[in-house]
């Protein structure tokens, strides 16, 4: 089949995100999950919903394993995706060598806001603590199985009132290391979701929140 010539880059761009693909399903899936336990340790709620809201910062971070941290073999400068989107320097000023690494965490909140891929924080983050309205953030873990990555957080409500969790996000800290151990840190919001129904952590109870990113279905 011979198609008409493409007139411009705009025509090419229209091809890039096809909306007329055959009925072929994506293999990528993501889920947000919460298990709530009462003060006796009984499981009282298990909530699971699809995650729908990754930010542009997630996309920029995942560009590192795809396009790397340099513009090319002989260009000692970071790709503009990293400098423009994440605000990383195009080149570190320092001695010896530089490198990059990152960590993730789960942040919980009690507010709601409309999603935007440029969101930088939750609407009303729940602080880590034992005061009113606070949750004690416990152990964070990360694992993988095949093409899926799991991040989970355990929180405890040490207050005498239940605490309602309405929003959840993955936060990331990116470290740039240089000059025998010096570090610069940068913080981002990688995902933002509101729960379809609020998660209520009872007084003296606890909850485990897990986010699953499945790249291969």
């Amino acid at each position: 089949m011979v198609t008409p010539d493409l007139a411009s880059e705009e025509d090419i761009a229209k091809l890039i995100i096809p909306n007329d693909l055959p009925d072929e399903q994506s293999t990528f899936r993501a889920y947000v999950e919460a298990k709530v336990y009462d003060k006796e340790g009984h499981l009282i709620q298990h909530h699971r919903q699809p995650m729908r809201s990754l930010t542009r910062y997630f996309l920029a971070l995942m560009s590192v394993p795809v396009i790397g941290t340099y513009q090319g073999a002989s260009i000692n400068s970071a790709p503009s995706v990293l400098t423009n989107t994440l605000g990383l320097p195009s080149s570190i000023s320092g001695t010896n060598a530089g490198n990059i690494l990152w960590d993730w965490a789960i942040q919980l909140g009690s507010g709601t806001q409309a999603f935007s891929p440029t969101l930088t924080s939750l609407a009303a983050p729940i602080l880590n603590g034992t005061g009113a309205g606070e949750l004690s953030y416990g152990s964070l873990s990360a694992s993988y199985s095949g093409g899926s990555i799991y991040v989970s957080l355990q929180v405890t409500n040490t207050t005498s009132s239940s605490i309602s969790v309405t929003e959840i996000g993955i936060t990331s800290t990116v470290y740039l290391q240089y000059s025998s151990g010096s570090k610069s840190t940068y913080n981002f919001l990688l995902s933002y979701d509101t729960f379809s129904t609020p998660i209520s952590v009872p007084a003296y109870g606890m909850a485990v929140f897990q986010i699953t990113l499945s790249f291969t279905g």
Binding site: I12, Q25, T95
Partner: protein, 232 residues
């Protein structure tokens, strides 16, 4: 203590949490190929979903918490079959992915989008293409152009995306058929003490078997576009 009584609880999975295949994924990837004849006219546009980050990609995406909590490293495999125990740690002696610094140049960069004429059944565990098409003008070869990386992430409503691309010219004298495509990153690990830098070489991070083969006519070209998007 935790989990006691789990048998007593009637756990009802929300209907929309089951993987029905109909919910909109939060992340997606697409592969587009534009084939041109020797006159530069577009003769075919191939579009498909891209399905397959490799095990190398998953290892490189893992957060520090995984390495800190488990104490494990992650075995990466390059296209030559060599392995590297990846274990990033925030200290001066750990070998982590290199980042530009004015004092030295240990580039980690997009080496190429590679095309091939074979296929393999388990893309996730692939570490190289089944049958790479060599860069050149000889029989069965394509002339590889330079890969193009994005200048920014484009935001459109709730979606955001970036695209990489590369053009291949066919000066071989015959039609060449492409059946597989992969993204290869040249990976270097450095520590900030600068005592141990490892140029690990080409690492396959993404791999797709084409849903239908692509024929590149003699004198023609093909441009491969990979698009990665969130909230499409």
């Amino acid at each position: 203590m935790v989990g006691k009584g789990i048998e007593d609880v009637d756990i009802t999975m929300p209907r929309d949490a089951h993987n029905t295949g109909k919910d909109t994924p939060t992340f997606d990837a697409y592969l587009t190929a534009v084939v041109r004849d020797s006159e530069g006219r577009v003769v075919k546009v191939h579009r498909q979903r891209s399905h397959s980050p490799t095990a190398n990609f998953i290892g490189l995406m893992l957060p520090l918490t995984y390495f800190n909590v488990t104490g494990n490293s992650y075995t990466l495999t390059n296209t030559g079959g060599s392995t590297f125990s990846y274990k990033p740690v925030p200290n001066a002696s750990a070998q982590c992915i290199s980042y530009p610094i004015n004092a030295s140049n240990y580039p980690t960069y997009l080496l190429m989008i590679q095309v091939g004429s074979g296929q393999q059944s388990n893309p996730f565990s692939a570490t190289k293409l089944a049958s790479p098409i060599a860069n050149g003008s000889g029989t069965g070869q394509l002339v590889y152009g330079q890969p193009s990386i994005p200048s920014n992430i484009t935001v459109s409503g709730n979606s955001a995306y970036f695209t990489i691309s590369q053009t291949f010219n066919n000066n071989s004298g015959s039609t060449i058929t492409i059946t597989e495509v992969g993204i290869i990153l040249n990976l270097q690990f450095t520590n900030t003490n600068n005592y141990a830098n490892t140029n690990f070489g080409g690492v396959l991070v993404w791999y797709d078997v084409l849903s239908s083969s692509i024929s590149v006519p003699n004198g023609g070209s093909v441009t491969i576009y990979y698009t990665f998007t969130v909230n499409p």
